[in-house]
C-alpha cells in the first residue's frame, strides 16, 4: 500500500537516513521502533513531504508521493499525527478537529465525522470549546488523533503518541489506535515504547542510527535478543 524505497534524507549537509526501505500493507499495524535520534520522526516527516528525500522514492498505491508539496499528502488519504501533538494552541478543540477536514469528502462529511470522533473521545466533546493549548497532555493527544481522523484517512501515521503520558493514558491511547485500525484504517506507528507496541502490531521494523537493521513480526522481534538488549535492557 505504502512503500518507502531506499531513501536518503538530509538536514542541510547532515545525513540522518541511509537507504531506508519498508512497506506498510493494507489494513495492518506497522511499527517502526528506534531509540531517541534514530530517525523515526525524520522518516514519517519525509512521507508527509515536510522533508524531501535526496535519493529514493515513496509510493502510495503505485503513485509517487515524494517531491509533492506537503499539503497534498493528506488529500491522498495519509495523515500524520505529529510528535508533541502540535495542536493549534489558540484554537478550540472543535476548531482543531475541523482543521482536519478541509478537503473533499472529509469536508462534506465534517459534521458526521465530528460526531464519530466525539463518540470515540467523549472527553473531547466535553472540552469542545476549550482552547487546545490549555488541555492536559492526554487530552491533547486525543484531540490530535481526532484531528487526524477527521480527514477520513486510509493510513494514519502516529509519531510517538505515548510520549510524556502517564502509563494508564498510554494504554488508552494504544487501545484507541487498535480500535481505529479495526475500523479499517492502516496504521504506521513510530514508537520508543517497545513492549506495548510490539505486542499490538502485525509487523515491525527497527531503525538504528538512520538505518533499518531488523524486521519481523512483533513476536519475532520481542523474542530477538538484540532487541531485548537494545530496548529493554535485558
Amino acid at each position: 500500500m505504502l512503500t518507502v524505497n531506499n531513501i536518503d534524507v538530509f538536514y542541510g549537509d547532515l545525513q540522518v537516513l541511509w537507504d531506508v526501505s519498508f512497506e506498510v500493507k493494507d489494513g495492518e499495524i506497522l511499527v517502526l521502533i528506534g531509540a531517541n535520534g534514530a530517525g523515526k520522526s525524520t522518516t514519517i516527516k519525509t512521507i508527509s513531504s515536510l522533508l524531501t528525500p535526496a535519493k529514493g522514492t515513496i509510493e502510495f498505491n503505485g503513485k509517487r508521493l515524494d517531491h509533492h508539496p506537503p499539503h497534498e499528502i493528506i488529500q491522498q488519504g495519509i495523515v500524520h499525527v505529529p510528535e508533541g501533538r502540535r495542536l493549534f494552541p489558540e484554537m478550540s478543540v472543535e476548531e482543531n478537529l475541523i482543521m482536519g477536514s478541509l478537503y473533499g469528502e472529509a469536508k462534506e462529511k465534517r459534521k458526521k465525522t465530528l460526531e464519530y470522533v466525539y463518540e470515540l473521545f467523549p472527553r473531547l466533546k466535553e472540552r469542545r470549546d476549550q482552547m487546545a493549548g490549555t488541555m492536559s497532555g492526554g487530552e491533547q493527544q486525543m484531540a490530535a488523533i481526532g484531528r487526524g481522523l477527521m480527514s477520513l484517512p486510509k493510513i494514519m501515521m502516529f509519531d510517538e503518541p505515548s510520549l510524556g503520558l502517564a502509563p494508564i493514558l498510554v494504554e488508552d491511547i494504544f487501545r484507541m489506535i487498535n480500535t481505529i485500525n479495526s475500523e479499517g484504517v492502516t496504521v504506521l506507528l513510530v514508537e520508543q515504547n517497545v513492549t506495548q507496541t510490539l505486542a499490538m502490531c502485525n509487523r515491525a521494523y527497527v531503525l538504528e542510527n538512520g538505518r533499518i537493521t531488523m524486521e519481523g513480526t512483533g513476536e519475532e522481534l520481542m523474542n530477538n535478543e538484540k532487541v531485548r538488549e537494545a530496548f529493554l535492557g535485558i
Binding site: 508527509s48 515536510l50 508539496p69 506537503p70 499539503h71 497534498e72 499528502i73 493528506i74 488529500q75 495523515v79 500524520h80 505529529p82 502540535r86 495542536l87 493549534f88 494552541p89 489558540e90 484554537m91 478550540s92 476548531e95 475541523i98 482543521m99 482536519g100 478541509l102 478537503y103 469536508k107 482552547m131 484531528r147 480527514s151
Partner: protein, 291 residues
Amino acid sequence: MDVFLQTLVAGILKGGLYSLIGIGMSLIMGVMGIINLAHGQLMMVAMYITFALHHFLGIDPYISLFIAMPALFLLGALIQKYTLNPLLEVESILPENQVLMTVGIGMVLTEIARFIFSSDYKSVKTSYSNATFFIGEISFSIALVIAFFIAVGFTLLMFWFLLKTDIGRSIRATAQDKDAALLMGVNSKRITTITFGLGSALVAAAGTLLIPIYYLFPDIGGPFTRKAFVITILGGLGSTVGAIFGGVTLGLAESFGATYIGMAYDDMIGLIIFILVLLFLPGGFKRLTKV
C-alpha cells in the same frame, strides 16, 4: 470637562481607523512572521486611487471602497506571490530579507505616486468633509463618525471571516503552527498570498475612509507605516485582537497629546508610547483572547 470629552471622542473615532490599519499589519505579522514596512505605502496607493476616482470620475470616496479594496487586495497578493514568496525558496535567505523587500516595495510605490501625481498635496472635498453634528457640547465630524462605523463593520467582518470560514481558520492555524497546518493540507503559499491581500485591503479601507478628512501626498505612507508598527507592537506582534487595543490606544494618545501638549507632537507621542511599551510591557496587550 467638555474639552476632555471632545478629546476622548476624537481619539476613539481615530482609534477605530487605526485598528483597521493595525489589524492588517498584525495579520501579516502573524502568518508570515514579518513586519510589512510597506503597509502605509499600500494605504497611500489606495488613497490615490480614491482621489483619482473622485477627481476624474466624480466617484464618492465611500463608493471607492468597492474599488480600492479589491485593487489593493490584488496588489498585496501579487506582492506576496511574486516578491516575498520567492525569497522563502532560497534557504540561505533570512526572514529579514523579506522585511527589506517590503521597505524597497514601499519606496517604489512612493516614487511611482510621485511620478504620476507629483509631490503636491491633494485632498478630496466632499459635501460632508467639514460637516459636524453635536451631542451636548461635543462636536462630531460626520465623515469621521461614518469612517468609524465602517471601520468597526470591517473589523467585525474580518473576525467573522477568521473565526468561521475554512480559509480564516487556515490563516490562524498557519500563524499558530505552520508545519501542523501543512500536515492538515493547508497550502501555506496560498494562505500567505491571501493574508497579504487581506491586510492590504484592510489598510486600503482605512486610507479611503481617511480621504474626505485628510490630505494626501506621496510620502504619507511612511508615517502610517510607523503608526501601524506602533499599533502592532502595542497589540503584541501578530495578535489581531491586540491590534484593536493598540489602535484605540494610539488614537487616544495622539488625541490627548494634540489637545494637552501640542498639535505638532502627535507623531512623537506615538513613538514615545512605543518605547514605553517595549520597555515596560513587552509583548503588548497580547493574547487577551484567541484571535
